[in-house]
């Protein structure tokens, strides 16, 4: 009996000890659909894969996938809601408090990813040209994200209301450790612009005219100059804007050219868009079943059998077109809530299932930027030339030589309105000039001094970070 006891005891002890000692090795499970952070940054392919995320974020419906294009139109006077918009853009139409773009949560993760690329691309081995192209894209995207946020959350330099000069938070290093996620105040508007300019200049240096195999679907040298010219325009740095626009036209990709009067409508249905300097490509697998009908530009802006049809053109926009403008023909009409309304055909879903590519920067915008920059510098002839180039490709007459000064500028602004509607410019075009935001009939004008001109920072961020200042009024 005693021996039995001992045996059992020995077996139990051994079992338990085994169970105990083997724990250290046994208790290890590796995730399969994620990578340890250390492994993700060691080779070029992985760092390059982060750039996919940048473009994927840019496609989001809260950004260029939808809201960045529609909200600035409805917040101003180009578009308004249909009789049955299903709650969409109802608050934007009346500029209700908090009804604005909300980019903070979408774009800072993207900026962090860009920072991961910028900080690590030089550490991995690959051909220098590939590394330059990758870094250039990351810098371009970071600049675009920063500028889109800055124009949403801040005033333009020199146009501050009550001297409120807060820009946005600047992040240039990757958050690879929790200690890096420190509290930072909003940088001054000028400092943000300085970084954006530096990024874009460096991107323009690093980027090739065409990133191999990517066409206009990834950032390129021409796109970097184009965005740089837009950024200068917002700061009213006219000479620099003119130069950057010229550089953009010089370095545009071979596939990019102005559409003509006869190809204008078709240009929106071509892949890539004929005028695209930078265009976001969309593919079927990127959307779930209902994304198309729920959130696509096509579903929201056009009247189709299954679509949502949430926004329509305002009478004010339609009245801005001159007689003979081919762009006026890029609208269709339908009965809506008892009356005939017009909707744009810019997003024809030519890729099927509500799919469109999204043009982020078009060549015509670059011409318009240069025209405006030149007109502001009283380079009337050059400005008229740029505008005439565009107008003759839209079925309109050349700009008379007599049109100078304010008249020329007004013509340029109207040209911007009819050329770039539904591409996310209208609200910002008014704002960057310090103008009140005009609204369609029946909706009160939003004064430039109204606090609702600026979007609110996420309330949670303001209560979390004592260094950060909320925009006035919120």
């Amino acid at each position: 009996m005693k021996i039995m006891y001992k045996k059992i005891l020995a077996v139990s002890v051994v079992t338990l000890v085994l169970a105990g000692t083997s724990c250290k090795d046994t208790l290890d499970v590796q995730p399969k659909q994620s990578l340890a952070a250390s492994a993700a940054l060691t080779d070029f392919a992985s760092v390059n894969a982060i750039s996919v995320s940048l473009y994927s974020r840019a496609q989001s419906f809260s950004y260029y996938g939808q809201r960045m294009l529609i909200a600035p139109e409805v917040l101003a006077d180009n578009y308004t809601i249909t009789a049955n918009s299903g709650g969409r853009y109802v608050s934007e139409r009346i500029n209700a408090p908090n009804a604005h773009l909300d980019l903070w949560g979408t774009l800072y993760p993207a900026i962090n990813e860009a920072n991961f690329i910028i900080a690590n691309v030089d550490k991995v081995s690959a051909a220098q040209a590939d590394k330059d192209a990758l870094k250039g894209q990351a810098l371009f995207m970071r600049a675009m994200f920063n500028h889109d946020m800055l124009k949403t959350y801040s005033y333009e330099p020199g146009l501050e209301v009550n001297g409120f000069g807060e820009g946005i938070v600047l992040r240039t290093l990757p958050t690879d450790d929790v200690t890096k996620a420190d509290f930072k105040p909003r940088a001054k508007i000028a400092d943000v612009y300085a970084l954006i300019e530096t990024d874009l200049k460096q991107a323009a240096t690093l980027l090739p005219v065409t990133v191999t195999g990517a066409g206009v679907f990834r950032a390129s040298k021409g796109a970097a100059f184009a965005l740089l010219s837009r950024v200068y325009l917002f700061q009213r740095k006219w000479a620099e804007a003119e130069q950057a626009a010229s550089d953009a036209i010089t370095n545009k990709q071979p596939s990019t050219s102005l559409a003509t009067a006869s190809t204008y409508i078709a240009s929106f249905a071509s892949v890539p868009g004929r005028e695209s300097m930078f265009e976001l490509d969309y593919r079927t697998e990127q959307w779930t079943t209902v994304d198309g009908i729920n959130n696509s530009m096509n579903s929201l802006t056009q009247k189709t059998t299954g679509g949502v049809f949430a926004v329509r053109a305002t009478t004010e926009l339609l009245n801005s077109f001159e007689t003979g403008d081919v762009r006026r023909t890029a609208f269709d009409q339908t009965l809506d809530g008892g009356s005939m309304v017009s909707y744009s055909l810019k997003f024809p879903a030519h890729k099927g299932n509500y799919f469109n590519n999204i043009p982020v920067i078009r060549l015509s915008e670059v011409y318009l930027i240069r025209a405006e920059a030149r007109a502001q510098q009283a380079k009337n002839t050059l400005a008229q030339d740029d505008l005439t180039t565009l107008r003759t490709n839209r079925g309109l007459a050349a700009v008379p030589a007599a049109t100078t000064g304010t008249a020329l500028l007004d013509l340029i602004f109207n040209e911007r309105r009819v050329e770039l509607h539904l591409e996310g410019h209208r609200f910002f075009d008014l704002k960057r000039r310090g103008l009140n935001i005009s609204k369609p009939a029946g909706v009160p004008t939003l004064l430039y001094t109204d606090f609702k001109l600026l979007a609110p920072l996420p309330a949670a961020q303001v209560s979390l970070n004592p260094l950060i200042k909320q925009n006035p009024g919120y």
Partner: protein
Amino acid sequence: MKRKLLAFLLLGFFAFSNAIAQNKTITGRVVGADDGLPLPGVSVRVKGGAVGTSTNVDGNFSLSVPLDSKVLTFTYIGYLTQSITLGSAGSVNVRLVSDSQQIAEVVVTGYGVAQKRDLGSASVRVTGKQIENLPIQSFDRALQGRAAGVQVTSQSGQPGGAINVRVRGVGSINAGNDPLYIVDGVQIKTGGISGQASSNTLGSINPNDIDNIEVLKDAAASAIYGAAAANGVVLITTKKGKNGATAVNFSAQQGVIQNVSRYDVMNAQQYAQFKVPGAVNAGTSESSATAFFGNPANSTAPSTNWFDAVTREGQSRIYDLSFAGGDSKTNFFISGSYTDQNAQVIESFYKRGTFRGNVGHKVNDKLSVNANISLTASKVFGSIADGASVNSPFYYPFTLRPDVPIYQADGTYTQGADLKASFPYNIVQGAKEEVRLGNALQTVSNFSATYKVTPSLSITGFSGIDFVDTRDDNQRPASIPAFAANGGTSSVVNTRNLDWNSNVAANWNKKFGFHTLAALVGGEYKEQNVESASATGQAFPNPFFRSLQNATPLSIAGFFTGYKKAGLFSKLNYDFKEKYYLSGTMRYDGSSRFGAEKRYGLFGGISGTWRISGEDFLADNKVISDLKLRASYGVVGNDQISDFASRALFGAGGSYLGSNGIRPTQLGNANLSWEQAATTNVGVDYGFLGNRITGSIDVYRRINSNLLLSRPLVSDSGFGSINENIGKVQNEGIEFGLNTINLDTKSGFKWSSDFNISFQRNKVLELIGGQDRIGTSYFVGQPIDIIFTYGWAGVNPADGRPMWYDVNGHYTYNLVAATDPKIQGTRYPKFFGGFNNTVSYKNLSLDFLFQYQYGNKSFVSMYQTIWNSGYTDDNQIVSQIAEQWLAPGQITAVPRALRNTPHLNNSGALSNAITTGSTRYLFDASYIRLKNITLSYNLPASIASKVKLRNIRVFATGINVLTFTKYPGLDPEAPIGVNEIGNNPQARTYTGGLQIGL
């Protein structure tokens, strides 16, 4: 050997000497009063004499007694001792009544059983008898109202839908709050198993197979489960066969499932009457408003009731067959069941077949083996979705305009813009044509062997498996225009969940005079892997083709998660004279979920008990029959954090131009570990008047610390948060259970009641870095689940404008997000519980359970959509027509109707919209519900035996029969932490059935 011989001889002598005396022989049969089954081994003795025997396998006995014997006593464990006065007849048939008090004495604890009277910790039990034949799909529903301290809320009224069970409140903010479920020793995964329909993994256990459910509530009881025990432990023990004749039980029931909760929304004319003035008030001309909303004067306008079109009276059928029996070496329990329920939403159903085989066998005196094997196949067709989505039957139909027909004149579904809806989706077509099917195969099985080394030492090896294999089908045919552009989409998700645990434990106990010592030592290993693969295809040739081989591949996806844990445990119990008890438990646990720097932890608990009624001074007390005072303290862990929460990760980062991206998804924290719960419990178990009144009172305080919180990071860092162990929450409460036999008359009338009530208080003690709040969700000093919103100040009687309260409690039309919202209440009830009554007269029995909670609030988000004075074009609650503000001086809660635009503030700018979340939409969700009522009749044994049956019982049961509440939402039973919108409410079920025993 010599001694044995001597004893034998002596016995023989007594037998002989008895035989010489004047004797008579009494024969008879002893059966259980509840089930009519023969009871073997019942001790039969002559009162006051030495003569005795016991019943055989068939419950029969034969005893030769002295002629002058007057009374026979029948004693059997778990039954009330019965004395029968002997008449002239030579045969006695006895029906022993089970003693629920005594039965409850054996309590399942971790890795063993204990005598209830020995137990120093808090636990509560529900027996299989209490939940027998209820038309429920999973046993967790049956805990509702029956177990003090256990709060059960329904996430979905879909049959088989998910349930929330909370033992003693909510101790964690971000880690799980589900208790640990252990079925016959197998630790099983909780939660939903289908991505297509709400379905509860616990549905794999047929409730009728359950012998008892034991809920371990305090840390001393659950400490043996260490890092997994913080939310309490629910031990489920399935039935076993008994030594004796095989008992066959068959039951069949059938009934209806009815929807009882709906919002009273407008018909077409009411809609026009309400909406047209609202549009006119907003500046639309009357003619175009009428063109869009209809003519208010048209009383014959065709009207659609969308909700009626997607709901129906469902049906319930349940069949159950079991065999239980055994002999002295082997026992078995075999059962099968089939459930078929059509739910309140059209097309939805729940079908389940279960099989179980439980076998125990004694190989010899030393070795015994045991196996419990279950197989379950279930099929759930979802009510297409819950929540605020256009395919949710409890949301969208209430919002759809009543002036829009379901079908066009040509018989096709109304589509697109003709629906005049926020999203062009015809929900009737969706409900009929979309497929959301969840298929599951499950087994929870185990095998164990126990070797008795010596009478006081045994070793048990145990291995258990929890396996779930699911297949989810989702089909969205092209006949629905929303999916037409894709040419229809189908997806299939296959998921395999393999979860196994094994342990070795040695049990030792020994009595030394008045001292009893018992010890348990063991080790355990557990592993869980979940892996899934899914495929989606689209562009079908036509809507009738739906399987993937006819589709163009769209996407494939995979998923894996898993963890491993290992632990060593030990327990020591000591008692002195069965009056003073001490118990201590320790467990050393490690888990792969925890960060590299903090992977292992030590957990433990101690308890002490004084059985006062065992003292001499209470020995003959007529009033106090049982009294026990217990106290315990323990520290356990909550390991329900996500499997890779501690790692720095790069995960999937979208796709672009045909390439897949990666992005940083999580910041690492090597110190991330379990949450810790320390519970102090003091309790009294009492029994008065011969245990006619029994119950327990428990007072506890549980402090959860090292709470896993997502510490918010400034989002400009690119991360929203990091997981850290910070924060502290306290739960304290009093639980009171009272079981009484109110009446027990000689005429056969009996009334007994079980009442329980739990008072609970939850409070956040500490948050991140000494801060007093996290955003608008958590506040130090407040319960975890608060409702933080604006105060609603009502409608300005002068002009019908909505008003709110600002931070200073003054009226305002424009709210300031930073300062004006306040904590307006909590979703926790102040108290909750149940009140069960059983009234029986002879063979007729009525059992009814009221279940209640009080003091909890619920935010009815749905009202922001359908009770907003016509701000949106959704259909609206009818009462607003009568209650809307129309004239100055009118005092009402419904502002002047105004479409699509807020009212103006005093300076002519826009005020806040009526739909702004505020206390306008906050309601008291206290309720009392007649949860179950069952009327049953046992046919007299004489009739049953004529048709050669042991018993026949007919019964009728109702579930959710009546609800008393002021709550305007669909179901006050919505789970904690959820705003009510589109919730699938509990249905009312009536079934009738027949149970036959052979």
